[in-house]
């Protein structure tokens, strides 16, 4: 495993700048990997055998990508946006899954670990580097059954939407009264089309 400083530097370069959220993300990822018994996440042995579900779409998510090597495009990183500073790390070889949560108490403990800093932001950034794991994070072993169609690997299906004609892979289509539709056509999407 790379050093904390190396991870922080790589994360800052990727994310653009340094912040408490990234620091927290780096710590969270390092601890999570340790919990599932992974020491070299970027090695061939582990590259395809880790998955991470991150529960927030903020700075920490970028830090998780850098530290774990998991990527959205590789289907090894899933963003399930609960708005919680937490992530679950899964060792696919063993099925072991550990959910790591940033403790709310850590925010108020920050001054203790960076007393010389006056700004809250800077205090947190500094404190999150040195605060012990047990004060910064909490851990729970969980069970995750990953839907097979969400796993890395070739698409398992590819069908055309019978309304708009867009092609849909990995069973994301919806069948209504025997008609195959993409989700936007079936349920409405995040976008609307102009006239």
């Amino acid at each position: 495993m790379k050093s904390l400083e190396e991870h922080l530097a790589e994360t800052a370069a990727f994310h653009g700048g340094d912040c408490p959220g990234q620091t927290l993300g780096v710590r969270l990822a390092r601890a999570g990997l340790e919990q599932i018994g992974v020491d070299e996440p970027l090695s061939d042995r582990w590259r395809k055998n880790i998955m991470v579900y991150v529960e927030i779409d903020r700075c920490a998510a970028d830090a998780l990508m850098i530290v774990t090597g998991c990527r959205v495009g590789k289907r090894t990183l899933k963003i399930v946006d609960y708005g919680i500073m937490a992530a679950t790390f899964i060792n696919l070889k063993t099925g072991k899954a550990v959910r790591v949560i940033a403790r709310e108490e850590a925010r108020s403990l920050a001054p203790k670990y960076a007393p010389e800093e006056t700004s809250k932001y800077e205090q947190q950034r500094q404190a999150y580097r040195v605060m012990p794991d047990e004060e910064l994070l909490s851990f729970e072993e969980v069970k995750v059954t990953i839907p097979p169609e969400d796993l890395p690997g070739s698409p398992i299906s590819r069908v055309a939407c019978e309304r708009c004609g867009d092609h849909v892979v990995d069973m994301r289509e919806v069948k209504i009264d025997g008609v195959t539709l993409c989700r936007p056509c079936a349920r409405g999407g995040y976008f609307t089309r102009g006239k």
Partner: protein
């Protein structure tokens, strides 16, 4: 085998001796004609009046020396030595024979090598049903007898010693009720393109043998998905049966997934038709993972029917066990299947 000497003795002196031939009774009044005393009968005091009534004043009897024994005494010793775990017998020989009976429902196990050695001793015999046959409690599974009426004590001793050294030659192992997980692989089934045909077939075979299905998981042809399903099944099941993905096409990932999940493969590929692509593997904790190829859908009986009972009887199946099935491993595809009363799987 040497026939003992036949001698003639007066009826009154024949008590305790062994009759060397049948004595027939013809009763004109009752029109009965049949055997009054059978060959091998040991003459008692009470028999004398009847023998005299039948006009027998002298009898042919067998002379039995110290080194010999009567077949009924011999067969009792033989049956005791032959009967291993869960094998029983009635201690009254009928016409020199004792049947060995299954004491429980389960898998008949015959130590075939020891049985052959037993039958080579001479003057004694045992005939059994095939080993690895499912038997019901009370079924006759073997019969034994001394062949001549009077046998050499030393031969009986040898036969008994051999059978005892083998821990009994005939035994029955009860089947364990295994919580069984089924993993069905294939994109075509997972995506609903076609209906699965495997589940009802596997379910019926497993339940017929007294086990239960605890989960059925469908998986696409994705190594990670199959591995995940295996790891989850291992947590809840005593036995895992996988279907599909057993061939050699690029989409066939079952054996690889088993290996990647940590199972040790005893055999992939078997000497049985149908069933050449069968797989037997075990997790470290002993949970068996059986891979059933597509023939399991099209043929009523396959290697799965030969191996499942043995797995449920607690055997750890080795590559050699599978290889041994080659002899007798050819199903004849009869229009009406009579398995297990057929040659299929009747290797030793």
């Amino acid at each position: 085998m040497c026939e003992p000497d036949q001698i003639t003795v007066p009826v009154q002196e024949a008590v305790g001796l062994v009759l060397s031939h049948d004595i027939t009774e013809v009763n004109a009044r009752t029109h009965y004609k049949g055997s009054a005393f059978r060959r091998g009968h040991v003459i008692s005091e009470e028999d004398i009046p009847k023998l005299l009534d039948l006009g027998k004043e002298n009898l042919y009897v067998l002379e039995m020396t110290e080194d010999q024994m009567h077949e009924d005494d011999a067969v009792l010793m033989l049956a005791k030595a032959l009967a291993g775990e869960n094998a029983q017998f009635m201690p009254e020989p009928r016409e020199g024979r004792i049947n060995i009976i299954a004491g429980v429902t389960g898998l008949l196990k015959v130590d075939v090598e020891a049985l052959m050695r037993f039958n080579l001793v001479g003057e004694v015999m045992c005939a059994s049903r095939h080993t690895n046959t499912i038997v019901q409690a009370g079924d006759i599974v073997a019969g034994t007898r001394a062949i001549p009426l009077v046998v050499e004590r030393e031969l009986v001793r040898q036969a008994v010693a051999g059978a005892e050294a083998a821990g009994g030659i005939i035994s029955v192992r009860p089947l364990k009720a295994a919580r069984t997980a089924i993993i069905i692989t294939g994109n075509e089934v997972y995506t609903g393109r076609i209906d699965d045909a495997f589940e009802p077939i596997i379910r019926e075979k497993v339940e017929t043998l007294g086990s239960s299905i605890v989960s059925v998981t469908k998986c696409p042809d994705n190594l990670l998905a199959i591995r995940q399903a295996l790891l989850e099944a291992r947590e809840a099941a005593d036995l895992i049966v996988m279907t599909g993905g057993m061939s050699v096409d690029p989409d066939d990932l079952t054996p690889l997934a088993a290996r990647e999940a940590g199972a040790d493969i005893s055999a992939y590929g078997s000497a049985v038709l149908p069933g050449a692509m069968f797989m037997v593997s075990y997790f470290e904790d002993g949970t068996p993972v059986l891979g059933v190829p597509a023939c399991g859908i099209h043929h009523p009986r396959t290697i799965f029917d030969l191996i499942l009972p043995r797995v449920l009887a607690g055997e750890k199946i080795s590559g050699a066990d599978i290889a041994r099935l080659g002899h007798g491993g050819l199903c004849l595809d009869c229009p009406e299947c009579d398995f297990p009363v057929c040659p299929f799987g009747k290797s030793s």
